[in-house]
């Protein structure tokens, strides 16, 4: 099984004030995103895999071949750089054909391949254009075509959309996903945008300070973040002390779930996302679910931010701040909030507990 795809075991590189150390296995044909705040080591990881930075220890295997000490130019790993790094002295076609020319592929085949790649990225007829005359989105696609030209076994994308505007980002990430499906190439995608990571990936690596915090599918990462860091990084949420549960728990005996309240130390905390919160204007109204839930009565709405499809409420309950999404604008200043116990994630010292 570990014969195909990318296997990085215990790779490590040390800087004076920063150490990167990770284990990472990407299956063949998978699209994996690496996400984290700037300076967490995302780009360094890509550089290690390409060989632009030598590995101090550990090994990198690609499709069963140990490439730890292979020079960059022999690894055949395609990479799209953040600034695209298209060569300004070459035109679109020459940029894409750069690696083919190095491989001494005959002219006719080179032409055919370049034409096919341009079609793949939706830039037919752009071959003779100067790089300086392309828009940001076009450059990005040329960079992608260039990285794919030598039919690499692995494609690395280093924040490829960060220089583009929001609309273009959305369009291009769909296109990248489509191209990935068409070529089936194993892909590592570095981004700092959680929405991008969630939409595009098969699996997501959340990184912090040179370590992997969590490596799982987008759904698990979003709904069950294994650390508080991952939880906060992947989206909005509310963090409360675990000791609030006895005061707020509404247990419904008939339900299949029974709640076992574990008394814990000061460090035990609960976390939930705003879309899991149900908002009631009427304080007398019960929450309809036949399931155990937490109920926060007489919560004061501090702010109500309209976000297009919904409102984001910032509420105050006995000095604790709770975030909630709501379809309508609350009529009163005081509201009741409810969260199902199933939607709570518990952390001890920032690490998830079962």
């Amino acid at each position: 099984m570990s014969d195909s795809g990318l296997v990085c075991s215990n790779i490590r590189v040390e800087y004076p004030e920063f150490t990167l150390s990770l284990d990472l296995t990407v299956s063949e044909g998978e699209l994996v995103s690496i996400i984290g705040p700037s300076g967490c080591g995302k780009s360094t990881t890509l550089q290690l895999i390409t060989g632009l930075i030598p590995c101090e220890s550990g090994s990198i295997m690609l499709n069963g071949v140990d490439i730890t000490n292979t020079p960059v130019w022999e690894r055949n790993i395609g990479m799209v750089f953040q600034d695209y790094a298209l060569f300004p002295h070459l035109n679109v076609e020459q940029n894409i054909a750069y690696s083919l020319k190095l491989k001494k592929i005959i002219k006719q085949e080179r032409h055919e391949r370049v034409a096919r790649l341009l079609e793949l990225v939706g830039l037919e007829g752009y071959g003779k254009r100067k790089i300086a005359l392309l828009s940001g989105g076009e450059r990005q696609r040329v960079a992608l075509a260039r990285a794919l030209a030598s039919e690499p076994k692995l494609l690395l994308l280093d924040e490829p959309l960060s220089a583009l505007d929001a609309k273009m980002r959305k369009r291009l990430r769909q296109q990248i996903r489509k191209i990935h499906e068409a070529t089936g190439i194993t892909t590592l995608y570095v981004t700092h945008d959680q929405e991008e990571a969630l939409t595009i990936s098969d699996r997501i690596v959340v990184m912090q300070e040179g370590r992997i915090e969590q490596f799982n599918t987008p759904e698990v990462i979003y709904n069950n973040p294994s650390t508080l860091f991952a939880a906060k990084f992947m989206g909005e949420g509310t963090l409360l002390p675990h000791s609030l549960i006895p005061q707020t728990l509404v247990s419904i005996d008939k339900g299949p779930d029974t709640v076992v309240f574990r008394s814990g130390g000061e460090t035990r905390q609960i976390f939930f996302r705003p879309e899991r919160v149900i908002v009631h204007d009427n304080p007398a109204l019960a929450f309809p679910e036949f399931l155990p839930h937490l109920r926060f009565n007489k919560t004061r709405v501090i702010s109500c931010e309209y976000q297009g499809g919904q409102y984001l409420l910032e509420c105050d309950w006995n000095g604790y701040t709770i975030l909630a999404y709501c379809r309508h604008k609350p009529k009163n200043e005081r509201v009741s909030l409810g969260v199902r116990v199933n939607d709570l994630v518990e952390y001890v010292d920032g690490v998830v507990t079962k």
Binding site: T44, T50, P54, W73, G78, H89, L102
Partner: protein
């Protein structure tokens, strides 16, 4: 943030560990050491040798206690200071115009800014004599305009002549350096000061001027350095022992009184001063870089056309002034080369006599013009070889120095620039001492001249390539590597093509510098090695100014053709 760390200290990236870049720079370093340090150490050792051949400080003590030494040094510093002040004063208003306004003739002034680095000093001297001399164009014009019997302007062979020639030669440095820095200053500070109630002059005095200080100092130190080691101008225009500088004295002792040890001791003094000047210049450059970093190119000043008549006429006058002041003498050289006396009374008329003599179609016994044709050939050969070798050395060094900010690399950069810190007269003296070891082979002499020129020219080549090299993003190199190119393939296919125009400029610089080089050549070469500037020097010495003009015109033409070629090369790349 991550980028800083990636290239920060202690991190080995592929470029650091690449054997290719090391292989590229090592020979260049070794060559430069060989070319530069060996002659230099011979000079230094000569200074510490007594008559019996043993080590002694006696010669140094003798030099330092000699009142004559101090008189020369004082005069050298004084003329350099006066020339620097005048150059900066002339350059500053032009820098303001260039940085602020858009006006016709701007590109001419911009082109003038690079002139001092390539214009042969012998041409400056000749142009000065032709233009301002007693029988020069200015005097002739004034005499005919006001019906005067005597030339009103008698400036030749005075202190003023030296200063004005230096200013004419060097003010474009101040103009170029200060204006390019000025352009980068964001105008928001000025606007802020204005909103707080400062008038234009107050804004200039309290906001702009303090921020220009690094650029002004940088230009001043560079000009001071050039004027300190100026040689041909003082040799010819200084005229006598009254206006002798350190460099002239070194030449005199080495080649006329044959006091080699004395010349070596004085060289030591010269090197000490120039080292201080180069250090000061580098310090001002660091200041400039620091300020640029703070201001980080946010917005460029928008150029505008001068609004008032007053502004327009000042811009116009400045353009006319600099064109006449700088290009006038050069045009005078070309004009004068086509004039020859037609009658015994000395009336001048159009003639190609000097060119006929120059190319050997007409021979005049004893005229230095007889050897001019072979001198042109020799100069072209030397310049071509110098350009090629300096280009190779400069590119190799730039490849290594591209990623600096490392302590070891900064010292390497300083080391590569070191030849700039030693005046060309001293370089020439070093090679003269080397040549005295071998005797009498002309081919060897030519080789030594080429080597001396390479030492003088390669820092300029490095200076023109290195900034362009640093502009190439590392991601280009990295991208090429991931696309399957080895480090050397990346160098040839990505870096060299992107550097093409900088390399062409560097090579053209080296060519022009070698073509017009007279200081080192005069000190080093024996009578069998005759280059164009040396023939010109001899012609001026025998008062055959017109002949010198004809040769000077050819020199101008050669350099102009080379620069035109590089320009056309640059254009064809970018269209």
């Amino acid at each position: 943030m991550i980028n800083k760390r990636r290239n920060g200290p202690g991190v080995a990236t592929i470029l650091d560990t690449s054997r290719f870049y090391r292989a590229l720079s090592t020979p260049a370093m070794v060559l430069l050491t060989f070319l530069f340090l060996i002659p230099l150490s011979i000079i230094l050792s000569k200074a510490f040798v007594d008559d019996a051949g043993g080590f002694s400080l006696a010669r140094l003590r003798l030099m330092l206690t000699d009142a004559y030494t101090w008189r020369i040094l004082r005069f050298t510093l004084l003329q350099a200071l006066a020339s620097t002040v005048l150059s900066v004063l002339i350059g500053l208003p032009g820098a303001y115009l260039l940085a602020t306004y858009r006006f016709p003739g701007k590109s001419i002034i911009r082109a003038i800014c690079t002139l001092p680095f390539v214009l042969p000093s012998i041409l400056v001297v000749l142009g000065f004599v032709i233009f301002y001399g007693n029988n020069g164009l200015v005097n002739t014009l004034l005499m005919s305009m006001f019906d005067l019997e005597q030339p009103p302007l008698r400036i030749l062979y005075t202190f003023g002549a030296i200063i004005i020639a230096h200013a004419f030669y060097n003010f474009p440095i101040a103009l170029g350096l200060i204006s390019s820095f000025w352009e980068q200053l964001p105008s928001r500070y000025n606007h802020a000061a204005m909103t707080m109630g400062a008038r234009r002059w107050t804004v200039f005095r309290t906001v702009t001027l303090p921020r220009l200080v690094p650029a002004i100092l940088s230009a001043s130190t560079l000009i001071f350095l050039f004027c300190f080691s100026s040689f041909a101008i003082l040799l010819v225009l200084g005229g006598g022992p009254r206006f002798t500088t350190l460099e002239v004295e070194i030449y005199r002792r080495a080649r006329m009184t044959l006091d080699l040890e004395g010349a070596a001791a004085l060289s030591l003094l010269s090197i000490a001063v120039t080292l201080v000047l180069v250090a000061a210049h580098l310090w001002t450059q660091r200041m400039m870089a620091h300020q640029e970093e703070i201001e980080a190119i946010s917005e460029r000043r928008l150029e505008r056309s001068p609004r008032s008549i007053w502004g327009k006429s000042i811009a116009f006058l400045y353009v006319v002034f600099s064109v006449v002041f700088v290009l006038g003498p050069l045009a005078g050289i070309i004009y004068r080369s086509f004039l020859a006396p037609v009658s015994r009374s000395g009336d001048l008329a159009f003639s190609t006599r000097w060119y006929r003599q120059l190319f050997g179609l007409e021979t005049v016994a004893g005229s230095p013009l007889g050897v001019a044709a072979s001198a042109i050939l020799l100069s072209l050969t030397i310049a071509a070889i110098t350009a090629f070798v300096s280009l190779v050395i400069g590119t190799m060094l730039a490849a290594r120095l591209r990623k600096t900010r490392r302590r070891s690399n900064i010292s390497m950069e300083l080391y590569a620039m070191l030849p700039m810190a030693v005046s060309s007269v001293v370089v020439g003296l070093g090679y003269y001492l080397v040549s005295s070891v071998f005797t009498g082979r002309r081919s060897l002499g030519v080789v030594l001249v080429v080597l001396a020129h390479v030492v003088i020219a390669s820092p300029f080549v490095l200076r023109s390539i290195l900034p362009e090299y640093r502009k190439i993003p590392f991601s280009y190199t990295q991208a090429s590597l991931t696309l399957g190119a080895t480090v050397s393939q990346t160098f040839w296919r990505v870096e060299v093509p992107l550097l093409r125009s900088a390399m062409a400029t560097g090579a053209a610089f080296a060519f022009a510098i070698s073509m017009g080089e007279i200081n080192a050549t005069l000190v080093l070469a024996d009578s069998s090695i005759i280059t164009v500037p040396i023939v010109m020097y001899r012609l001026i010495g025998s008062y055959n100014f017109a002949g010198a003009c004809a040769l000077g015109t050819i020199l101008i033409a050669c350099c102009a053709i080379v620069f035109a070629l590089t320009e056309s090369m640059k254009r064809s790349r970018h269209v």
